[in-house]
């Protein structure tokens, strides 16, 4: 049963090593020439609890999970029932579990999937130093057609420090799993692929965003730890130090946002990364950066909300606060990457735009995308770099920091530039920066701060627009992966549709949107929020066709391609 793609879930209690084994599988798959996409799910426990590595391997690039998992390997069943809804199976799926662990949870059994017993613990015990997760990994490799050679390479890399004995023990455990799975019922096997070392990247969305920020020119980061943004910061801290920047762990999010405002006022492109609760705390000072025209980038890796919500799981429900959270009329940029790969481009672009327009760019990623690891084609170089307009005036002339210009952008002096001193202010001010409550000054500055955003040419990057036909799928962020896959399947069925995935959420681009939707008579809106925040945003700012359906539901269940396809099919 050779296929283009196979989906695997590896589950167990925390400490069973499922995330480790998942990461090794992804690494070996990339060495075998396959593409990969892996998300992880874990409970709230700091140590222990339940964990699952959910993976899709493919001979083509993948940016989404499939509708079902072909293979579920459970090292144990402790609390895996809590994940059942996140592990959809079909009658064609295969469940591999340890007979020592007893019956599968009822939700798993109810799927009608085939099941086989693999005594992972017993096999591991028979090998000195053997571990059940390696037995599981071996079984998976045998079932999907992953050769031993790349697995061995990965073992040698990962266990280098532990020595030959540990490598041999793991290899023996792998082989025990492979041998046991030889006669198991088939799951899709991927064909051997061409390997061309140096053409692919293995990266998470959070790492890609961090790299995009540094590529764009960010050299100062201040942040407070928060799931699921912390791993972006952990990647950035040593990376910044290497390229001549720094990351400060601040005392809270209020300090984080104001530290980056201070650093950026000093001329250094700056960023903070957070999640919903942190973004809530930052909103007052985001307004300050907008009013004082101090460029900053705020990366918000969304999680389930409101309040503390579901910290470890994904949701697209911070759209409203990102768009409308500030008091007063506070125009700013809101951008959203729509894949792991795009976290790199969009974050880099956000830095460029924030600096060029001297404003705030809020970037909305989410847990699913940020913590997903993918094997992707090597991303292209992007020309967008931080470039702030600075005054060229001689020191004697009367510098006006907030001069009303045609573009709305006023040259910004940087401390250290002599004779151009000014006071940046969150109080409304006149052109020189002096506080003013005059109607004319307020209107002129409001106009200017809006004009610089609306007059700017964002080119084609405002959205990804693909396909043709009278039916459109309109989506954003991490919902784009499954929507895009649904579109391909729809087209494979001989039908036509188009996809519009909006990357620049604010300022809105109604003319470009209208062109993208020319000839469309029905649209399906896809998002992961309970209240349909994106749907309402579209309703408020854009002309939609008469026939509109909205597929919106809360996290943490991801939107799956089949869900989108089902909605499309119900129209035809």
């Amino acid at each position: 049963m050779t296929a283009q793609t196979v989906s695997i879930a590896l589950a167990g209690s925390g400490g069973a090593g499922v995330i480790t084994a998942g990461a090794m599988l992804l690494e070996a798959a990339s060495r075998a020439g396959w593409y990969a996409y892996m998300t992880r799910s874990s409970g709230p426990q700091i140590r222990g609890g339940e964990a699952a590595a959910m993976m899709r391997l493919s001979t083509e690039p993948v940016a989404s999970h499939d509708d079902c998992f072909h293979l579920l390997v459970a090292i144990d069943w402790n609390n895996v029932g809590r994940f059942a809804a996140e592990l959809p199976l079909s009658a064609g799926s295969l469940v591999v579990s340890d007979p020592e662990e007893g019956e599968a949870p009822s939700q798993i059994g109810a799927s009608g999937a085939r099941s086989v017993a693999l005594p992972m613990k017993e096999l591991a015990k028979s090998i000195p130093g053997g571990r059940p997760n390696m037995v599981a990994l071996g079984a998976i490799a045998a079932l999907i057609g992953l050769p031993e050679a790349p697995l061995l390479e990965v073992l040698q890399k990962v266990l280098k420090r532990k020595g030959e004995e540990a490598i041999q023990a793991s290899l023996d455990a792998l082989r025990a799993g492979m041998a046991a799975a030889k006669d198991y019922p088939a799951v899709p096997r991927l064909p051997a692929a061409e390997t061309r070392p140096g053409t692919r990247w293995s990266i998470t969305g959070n790492e890609a965003a961090g790299l995009g920020a540094i590529r764009g020119g960010v050299r100062f980061v201040a942040a407070y730890p928060i799931t699921p943004a912390t791993d972006m910061l952990e990647w950035m801290a040593p990376a910044l130090a290497k390229v001549g920047g720094t990351l400060v762990q601040a005392e809270d999010e209020l300090a984080s946002i104001n530290q980056i405002i201070g650093a950026s006022y000093g001329g250094v492109p700056s960023l903070t990364a957070t999640s919903g609760p942190g973004l809530s705390l930052m909103t007052e000072s985001i307004g300050l950066a907008i009013a004082s025209e101090t460029p900053i980038v705020v990366m918000n890796v969304m999680r389930g909300g409101p309040s503390t919500g579901i910290p470890t799981k994904s949701e697209q429900s911070d759209l409203n606060i990102a768009l409308y959270g500030m008091h007063g009329d506070a125009p700013h940029l809101v951008l959203a990457p729509n894949s792991v790969t795009d976290c790199l481009f969009t974050t880099q672009w956000a830095v460029h735009l924030a600096e060029a327009l001297q404003t705030v760019a809020i970037v909305l990623s989410d847990q699913a995308m940020g913590q997903a690891r993918a094997v992707i084609p090597r991303p292209a170089e992007v020309a967008f770099l931080a470039k702030r307009e600075k005054p060229q005036l001689a020191a004697e002339q009367n510098y006006q920091r907030y001069a009303v210009t045609a573009s709305g952008v006023s040259p910004m002096a940087i401390p250290g530039m002599h004779g151009l001193q000014y006071t940046a202010d969150g109080l409304e001010h006149n052109e020189t920066g002096t506080p003013s409550s005059h109607v004319a000054d307020h209107t002129a500055q409001l106009d200017k701060r809006l004009r610089k955003l609306t007059a700017y040419n964002y080119g084609d990057h405002w959205a990804d627009v693909e396909g043709e036909g009278e039916t459109a799928i309109i989506t954003w962020g991490s919902s784009t992966g499954p929507a895009r896959e649904a579109l391909r399947r729809y087209e494979a069925g001989g039908k036509r549709a188009r996809l519009v995935s909006i990357r620049l959420l604010s300022p809105v681009q109604p003319e470009k949107f209208a062109r993208a939707l020319e000839g469309v008579i029905r649209a399906l809106v896809v998002e992961q929020s309970h209240s349909g925040q994106f749907y309402r945003y579209l309703r408020a700012h854009y002309d939609l066709p008469r026939d509109v359906k909205a597929l919106h539901r809360p996290g943490p269940l991801p939107v799956r391609p089949g869900d989108v396809l089902g909605e499309l099919a119900s129209w035809s």
Partner: protein, 280 residues
């Protein structure tokens, strides 16, 4: 530059802007502004290399009244703004100015962590024991039985915050108290504070004669602190815990903790070097 042997390039007025302060006649903050400009003239720092950062409140208006780079941010967040600036731009001289409400109430957490972090900035806190800008409410340094506010007509019943004792305990590297009645002394202390590495905390008793007219008596109540500064934090703490808040005119503590100053030199790595880890 040695000011003894070379003509001063900058005089105090070079550090003042043309903007008229919004302060009431008789406000102590006029003295602080004047002392600040004197101190900078003494140090001969080019105005373009100095940044004054503040939050919200009467005294937080100072940046615009100077000719230096200024940042007038949101209420309570002057310290993190200044810290971000100084960490990213260690070549600048960074001063933070503000009042007791801004720095010790809404900004209280940042105050503790700024002392702890010990970035090389000077924090001048103008303490008038009242919220002036919102027209006379109790602040964290107000006595518990002050009944002058309609918001707390029976007094707050809450013990006042001791900025210097708390600052010292949290790790401030330089602690001083002075009084606006002696602006030359305020200027001298600001000079010392700027010169001292790390986080320098200067409490200036700055009367609000509009909402606390009784503070006119401060000029009679203050006395020159009877002792010289110590480098022993424990001794400084004992003095601060037993003083009545009116010992002024002296530096009380000078520490020698290494300031927080991340190395911005990099390792010579390029962005392409960072990308190599992802390559497969």
């Amino acid at each position: 530059m040695d000011t003894q042997t070379q003509a001063a390039r900058y005089s105090a007025k070079d550090y003042k802007s043309a903007i008229k302060p919004i302060w009431c006649p008789g406000c102590g903050d006029f003295s602080v502004l004047s002392a600040l400009t004197k101190a900078l003239a003494e140090l001969q720092l080019p105005p373009g290399r100095v940044a004054v950062v503040s939050g919200i409140g009467c005294s937080s208006r100072i940046p615009a009244y100077t000719s230096m780079y200024g940042f007038h941010g949101v209420h309570g967040r002057a310290l993190p703004t200044a810290i971000g600036l100084k960490v990213a731009r260690p070549d600048l001289t960074v001063l933070v100015t503000g009042g007791d409400g801004d720095g010790l109430s809404i900004g209280g957490n940042h105050f503790l962590h700024a002392c702890r972090r010990n970035v090389d900035v000077t924090y001048i806190i103008m303490d008038n024991q009242v919220y002036g800008m919102t027209k006379g409410q109790a602040s964290p340094t107000t006595a518990p039985d002050w009944e002058g506010s309609k918001l707390t007509p029976e007094g707050t019943g809450v013990n006042p915050f001791q900025p210097l004792a708390i600052g010292l305990a949290a790790g401030a590297n330089f602690v001083a108290r002075c009084f606006t009645g002696d602006p030359n002394n305020v200027a001298e202390i600001i000079v010392e504070a700027i010169r001292h590495p790390g986080f320098s905390l200067v409490q200036v008793l700055s009367p609000c004669i509009t909402f606390r007219p009784e503070q006119k008596d401060w000029k009679r109540l203050v006395r020159t602190a009877p002792v010289e500064f110590t480098t022993d934090a424990a001794r400084a703490a004992r003095r601060l815990m037993t003083d009545d808040g009116f010992n002024v005119g002296k530096v009380l503590y000078k520490g020698s903790r290494e300031p927080f100053r991340p190395d911005l030199g990099g390792s010579g790595a390029t962005v392409a070097d960072l990308e190599r880890q992802f390559l497969r």
